[in-house]
Symmetry: C2
DNA sequence: TAGATGCCAATTGTATACAGGTTGTACATC
DNA sequence: GATGTACAACCTGTATACAATTGGCATCTA
């Protein structure tokens, strides 16, 4: 593995994990010291993270850790609401036996409420499950887009202290999506996926956000999606039921 | 504008415009000579183009112009079929007066059949229209994804000698989408956008591809989308009509 | 002759020196 | 005291030297 790739992965992980304050300025020299690499691979890593919208680069000024904003949070969910169900439906048609096994493995987590370490693991499993389902669509674009959405979304979830009882609902919804994919029922998978995203949004809005971001948290709690963004699911439900 | 940005834009334009053969290998030295820059900005430009899937980088081996494949063509359309209608629906709700004016400007092109230069301009206007509609959704993620999809799709359209009479249909469909957005009718915009994408796919499959890619062309002609990918539009039509 | 092995040219990955731009500060001027 | 300007420190952008890796080719061996 080259230095550039290593720095990219480690820095990315640190940003997602909250090692840097959102909006904070970081210099190349700083990153070179932290990751033990020279400027060239550090620059390359930062440029890739810019493409992933985890870092903002202002020419001749420096690098800034992408801030967490209500607009981005809403945007991510709007796109997810469109991408996830479509990918789930395709996965139900095209997933290989091996891909289904892999999906089932990620869906079989145990979330022990109240444990911080368990919560972090839980978020990673959740992320992997979503990406794995998208990959099973047989369309790598869906997988790439999903990976980017999840990486950016997880930063918001890390703000949350814990999800407590929510983990149970979430696991249940995941299993329903997986069951539909395994049963080769695209429309059920699509509907379950839509419901899951909408419920996740609803759950997030009632969460107990970490105090240092209380301003953002209260703003997030006031989000409401446009009618046409929700419409995706409603149409399906009406049609199916 | 920095060298890196300039090289990125020019190289990107050259790849999209077909200046390089798909799959061709290019060395850093070659690109340095061609664009009159040193290796550092050339490398940065190539890394960004890799993120956009226009170049493949194999470590220690070199850069390869992304090949045109049936799988990619299908993947791009599958994602477009999901992104475009959703963005159009949101645009109908949230587009500003200025954005609507901008969209109308891009929709008002005149395509003179048979003229090669006119055809290229036509493709650019088409691309800009799609991106502008996505931007009017008020969600920059839709705009970014659309810009990437369009950049990659246009390489396939450049293979086509001309679209002849198709330009007329296309312009008509575009105007219908724009009309729905201007009239603030999200569901009509969504439906018209879905139809437009599906019709574009159908039109492409019956096209006269340039001979040097006849193998790819015949493969493209045999594409068929999965039922659940088409389902998006059918549901809406049934529901509306 | 088929296959394995070691060397070498070519190319990319990394480190670093140098150039260019930006920001903040100190000082002169009004 | 407010404002504008010059300068300096700092940082990023670019160029280039050096290190590491690859793949092909020649050579050797069975």
């Amino acid at each position: 593995m080259t230095e550039a790739v290593r720095v990219h992965l480690e820095l990315r992980n640190d940003i997602i994990g909250g090692e840097f304050a959102p909006g904070a300025s970081v210099s190349e020299a700083e990153l070179c010291a932290r990751y033990g690499a020279s400027r060239t691979p550090v620059r390359e890593a930062c440029r890739r993270l810019q493409e992933e919208s985890l870092i903002h680069i202002v020419p001749f000024r420096g690098y800034f850790i992408a801030p967490l904003t209500v607009a981005e949070f809403r945007n991510l969910h709007e796109v997810q609401l469109v991408i996830d169900p479509a990918a789930a439906a395709l996965a139900a048609e095209r997933a290989s036996a091996e891909q289904i096994r892999s999906i089932e493995r990620w869906a079989n987590y145990e979330y022990h409420t109240g444990q911080k370490s368990s919560y972090h693991t839980f978020l990673e499993w959740n992320q992997n499950l979503h990406v794995e389902i998208a990959a099973a669509s047989g369309n790598e674009l869906f997988a790439e887009i999903t990976a980017n959405l999840q990486a950016r979304l997880i930063r918001y979830f890390y703000m949350v202290i814990s999800m407590d009882s929510f983990g149970v609902d979430l696991a249940q919804e995941h299993r329903e999506i997986v069951r539909a994919i395994k049963a080769r029922k695209p429309e059920v998978a699509r509907q379950k996926s839509s419901e899951h995203v909408l419920k996740t949004i609803a759950r997030t809005m009632s969460l107990d956000f970490a105090s240092q971001n209380s301003e953002l948290a209260s703003e997030i709690n006031s989000i409401s999606l446009e009618p046409s963004a929700r419409q995706s699911m409603q149409t399906r439900s009406r049609r199916r039921l």
